[in-house]
Symmetry: C2
Subunit: 341 residues, 2 copies
């Protein structure tokens, strides 16, 4: 492999009003200096596009600061070291890092973490089933919503990268019943087939509250929210006494320019002793070792399946993000940058 000295990068140049458009981004080419002391150069193989990035395109106070205008966007990526001035990182090592949205990344070695290469597991899995995506599902379900065996669990956006993991982890952890919602009949079939959900519904086929009530005649104990909006309201209507909801995101509202509407049934939260708890995975990283060990076992035993939707080329990263926002992906949405040598 030649050592590339040019990096093609995607920068945010305008804050999207509603749905992101091409004009909100630009592609630029950066000439890289030789790696300095303590630095490495990495050729990215895959970059991750995730729903939370939409929030970072806005200029609002948040746990995670907004993307800066005119700077290259960041995000999860996995690649291979092509040049290194430090002993801990060797040429050929596979590393994960946050310098996504570029084909070649260069920086201080501390920004990169070496991951093992496991036979039969693609390196892209480090962004999904072995990465932040599945960790999000794991901690949201078990730490935030405190699922216990026997719970009935409802997951929205269940065919997505996080949702499909939530459903499978819930089953493996002893949920009595796992219910999912998704935006097409094909995804619904995937949920009850490949992903092993007990039942699922297409939220575009009727009111969410009615469909959820039919799917959960005895109510739900845990809700994992990827969607917000009417899904959250339906869950609040359906949660049993003492029920818990982990709020992971609200993709239904990310691109809305209207003032969002809050759930109109907040009174249920008092009367039924419900808990709604938001989270971002970054504050639960201490659970990574336990998660990684358990997930590796499930993968080795064939008890967890995962899907990827792959778009080719850094020049299509913005398209990939738009497809993700429209729900065109099944499982983890990735941009493939370089093919493994």
């Amino acid at each position: 492999m030649a050592l590339p000295s040019v990096s093609t990068q995607i920068q945010l140049v305008a804050r999207p009003q509603g749905w992101p458009v091409d004009g909100d981004f630009r592609m630029t080419t950066v000439e890289l200096a030789e790696p300095g002391p303590g630095q490495v150069r990495v050729v990215n193989e895959y970059i991750s596009v995730d729903p939370y990035m939409r929030g970072r395109m806005n200029d609002v106070k948040s746990y995670v600061p907004p993307f800066a205008l005119g700077e290259t966007m960041t995000g999860g990526a996995v690649g291979r070291v092509v040049a290194s001035t430090v002993d801990a990182l060797k040429v050929g090592d596979v590393v994960v890092h946050q310098l996504g949205w570029r084909d070649v990344a260069q920086g201080d070695a501390a920004q990169f973490r070496v991951v093992p290469e496991v036979a039969g597991v693609p390196v892209s899995a480090n962004l999904g089933v072995l990465g932040m995506t599945a960790l999000t599902a794991y901690v949201g379900l078990l730490e935030v919503a405190q699922m216990v065996p026997g719970d009935t669990v409802f997951v929205s956006g269940a065919a997505g990268a996080v949702g499909s993991m939530v459903g499978q982890i819930a089953r493996l952890k002893g949920a009595a019943r796992v219910i999912g919602s998704a935006g097409s009949d094909a995804k619904v079939a995937l949920l009850t087939g490949r992903y092993g959900f007990d039942t699922a519904f297409n939220y575009k086929s009727g009111p969410v509250t009615d469909q959820l009530a039919a799917a959960a005649p005895d109510g739900i104990d845990v809700y994992f929210d990827n969607v917000g909006g009417d899904h959250l309201e339906a869950a609040i209507a359906t949660l049993n006494d003492g029920g818990r909801a982990a709020l992971c995101g609200a993709i239904a509202q990310y691109n809305s320019t209207d003032a969002p509407v809050g759930p109109r049934n907040m009174a249920n939260i008092v009367g039924r002793g419900l808990m709604l708890k938001g989270f971002i995975v970054g504050t639960y990283l201490q659970h990574y070792p336990a998660f990684a060990a358990e997930m590796a076992g499930w993968l080795a035993a064939g008890e967890v399946v995962f899907d990827e939707t792959v778009v080719d080329g850094i020049e299509h990263a913005v398209d990939a993000f738009g497809s993700l926002m429209r729900g065109a992906n099944t499982g983890k949405m990735l941009v493939q940058i370089a093919r493994p040598s």
Copy 2:
């Protein structure tokens, strides 16, 4: 004291549409039989009127079932045994029970709990500072919202029976700053004076979000919600990363006939990792002994003050409830039935 054999009782005869009106209730007189085996007769001294009772007047599924139409309403009360057929309850004992909204109560002894008479503490305190009211404040703040020393705490409806306890317990438990809201300048003065809040504001004087931001320039860590509506939205806007809200009630919306509006800033819950948790005191009764011991110590040391607003006579119970709904009370709202003999 003569042994009364007639009981005057308040019954719900129609479900209120919006604000309760006199026609939703009737006063009736019941002739009591002699207490049967295992029964006692109690002359009530005080009955409690509480905001949660408004919810029970509606016919909606809830943790606590609705009041039945045509039956006598129930609720906290304290009285004195005037006749007993059981050894455990003696004539003259002070008892607390749930057979409120009547001047004389009769029933199985198991429904009545004897409370000690403490010099300097009125029997009415068993409904307030030593009863469910202050237990609500205690468990909501410490168990539900998990307040820890150093937290900045915001309480709405802070001059009410629960709110005034929340503020004082927060201070005694080491809150860095205690902020309250109330509906009049006189109540605001009471908060920062008698009740020891660090700062307070009149929610009728301007937008809650603006006033709360001014009162809490470094944000809040805990919110105790007695009000709902724009107070809850303001708290969600102001809670710091990892902040917790205990949802105790939403008096602002109890009498509304419009569809309630939910908080429009639910996205903050995800981004800042906030927790909203509803509760009713009935599911936290296991904390009563710890609460009672701690509160008795605070009272004996003069570290907690409490107020009562007392309306005289069972025939004015509905008026008392209406006054409570309009915020005319300071501290615990009570209906005095019989004067201690």
